[in-house]
Symmetry: C2
């Protein structure tokens, strides 16, 4: 094998290495650190090149590319969503991402992003709740105990300071799985048998179910005054979790309105229904929680800058952790004009 | 390390493995085989999801994502273009690509595409010339002797049957490099000292220069009746190679008009100037070369389907050639809902 120059090599973080990195840093600390990167990037929101995601839809699902750039770095995530996958032994969502330098266009990181997306989604939710949830929130209802559940619980413990999660899922096995995984986290974990039971006494309600159809995970009478709702599951056209009446009683906060109006809970509302952009709240340009009677709703769909922040974080960790391999991904002939000669010489 | 399941693994073709594959198959045969894939895909043009490329422009250059899908497979190429890179020891263009299954969204190939793009660009040019160049063309002028030059010469020898190339570059070192690389190919190689000298007696003129500015590599008086022009270098806004008068005397053939009108030579013409789509010529729905006086012009900019065809070809080769490694790129927990548990268990 010819030895490629250093310029030709791109660090790659595999699933195995991502798991090693999570366990070295600790999942709670890693989520908190990623949240700091996400917050920093939200605070320089106007710098970002915000392209809507590029989606290729098919009968079975969707494949999306989510690019963004802050002018210095460029990142994109490849992510699929195939609801029928699980029944066939595949993941519903898989993802990977790339970070590159804007000044020369060279990729500087290739990373798995299935695990990383779970981390950044939880980090974003808890970061947003830090601004919007009632002060001193201690109890979170967690409706939907799938792949995202434990990451959310840990993020809210670490960043918001909750000490209790009340779990509910239509499948009791999912709840049992989550309760077992959360046993050693220091959280009090209460397994509930109905959504009504789960929301009892909770200051924060997180909905994270995987139904593709419009569902009504929360009905209007389940949401009392002063609650913060963290709505994760409604994230594509035709997929919502909350009854419309809840939306009408809530102050709604979103990542990027043009995307959320198509993909989020607010697809149920008029196109001009008022929403507040999170970056404005974080910069102090818009009000977050106003009083203790107000219902705040984070209509989360996930935005490219959050993936960008997460990739930036992972890239920065490579200086401290040996959790990557280098891939010979970029052709780098000694003479850039002599690509043909480089290939021909490799034969000998 | 945990052993990932087979589903989690994505074959990766590195630069080194791509060079091995080219040398195992032979560059001429590989270009011919890729041309067959490109032709097959042009002939089912209407099946493809043709998204314009998604470009992130900066002062220094551009980073683009070029996705497409035939409904069964999905592919995209990441490619940068940074004209100032070469002076700083980087490649002007680097690329990599991914092929995925549409039915479940799983990537099935990650490949370097700097070399592969050179192969597919040459394959496309020669394939198009098979339809458009004068019958019995034996001599090609090759103006611009950079990274693409030898691939073009070899492609035209193999697919069109030329036996002579007449090389010219403003930098004689580039011509010397190309002449040396082509010495063993069986082509008669003639190094010329002016563009006028290069085009003398040529039935085919290929222009492939790297200037970013609008340039005039060919002036009107250099192009005689009956010639086929293969214009490779004009491929972004503000970058052209041919004098406008040549365009007005030519019948112009393009890959995908909405993209070519922005990026190709025809950006110099009115938006409604008639052009012929290549897929129609290949399917016999439109006329190619009409007579031996006609000037035909392939205004090449490179289209996503050509990368898709090339990725499809490489993927098919993996069954026969051991020129890849498998990357643990997709998280694949035993229970898809137990991503957190998978990460936690990896600690022990």
């Amino acid at each position: 094998m010819t030895t490629p120059s250093k310029l030709a090599l791109v660090p790659f973080v595999s699933v195995d290495n991502m798991m090693k990195l999570v366990n070295k840093i600790g999942p709670a600390q890693m989520i908190a650190e990623i949240a700091d990167y996400i917050e920093a990037d939200f605070k320089r929101w106007e710098l970002f090149d915000k392209t809507p995601r590029v989606a290729a839809h098919s009968e079975e699902g969707v494949i999306e590319l989510m690019p963004t750039s802050d002018g210095e770095s460029y990142g994109f995530k490849y992510v699929n969503g195939h609801p029928a996958n699980m029944a066939r032994g595949f993941q519903t969502v898989t993802a990977f991402g790339v970070l590159a330098r804007v000044d020369n266009g060279y990729p500087i990181l290739l990373s798995e992003m299935t695990i990383l997306t779970a981390l950044r989604t939880a980090a974003t939710s808890a970061l947003v709740a830090k601004y919007l949830a009632p002060k001193g929130s201690k109890t979170m209802a967690m409706i939907g105990n799938g792949a995202q559940c434990e990451f959310q619980a840990l993020a809210f413990k670490t960043i918001v300071g909750i000490d209790t999660v009340r779990l509910y899922d239509i499948d009791p096995d999912a709840t049992a799985k989550a309760a077992k995984n959360l046993a050693a986290t220091g959280l009090e974990v209460i397994s509930c048998t109905s959504p009504e039971d789960a929301v009892a006494g909770a200051q924060i309600i997180t909905t994270c179910t995987a139904d593709k159809q419009c569902a009504t995970i929360l009905t209007d009478n389940m949401v009392g005054a002063g609650v913060h709702i963290n709505a994760i599951g409604g994230d594509c056209p035709g997929k919502t979790e909350l009854h419309r009446d809840i939306l009408l009683r809530s102050d709604i906060f979103v990542e990027y309105p043009p995307q959320t109006r198509v993909e989020g809970e607010i697809q149920q509302l008029d196109d001009d229904h008022p929403v507040t952009e999170l970056w404005r709240v974080m910069l102090g340009q818009a009000e977050g929680r106003r009083d203790d009677k107000q219902i705040t709703l984070f209509d989360s769909v996930g935005f490219a800058t959050e993936d960008f922040s997460a990739l930036r974080y992972i890239h920065d960790q490579l200086a401290h952790h040996d959790t990557f391999v280098e891939l010979d991904m970029l052709a780098d002939p000694d003479d850039p004009r002599d690509l043909f000669g480089m290939v021909a010489r490799a034969a000998s």
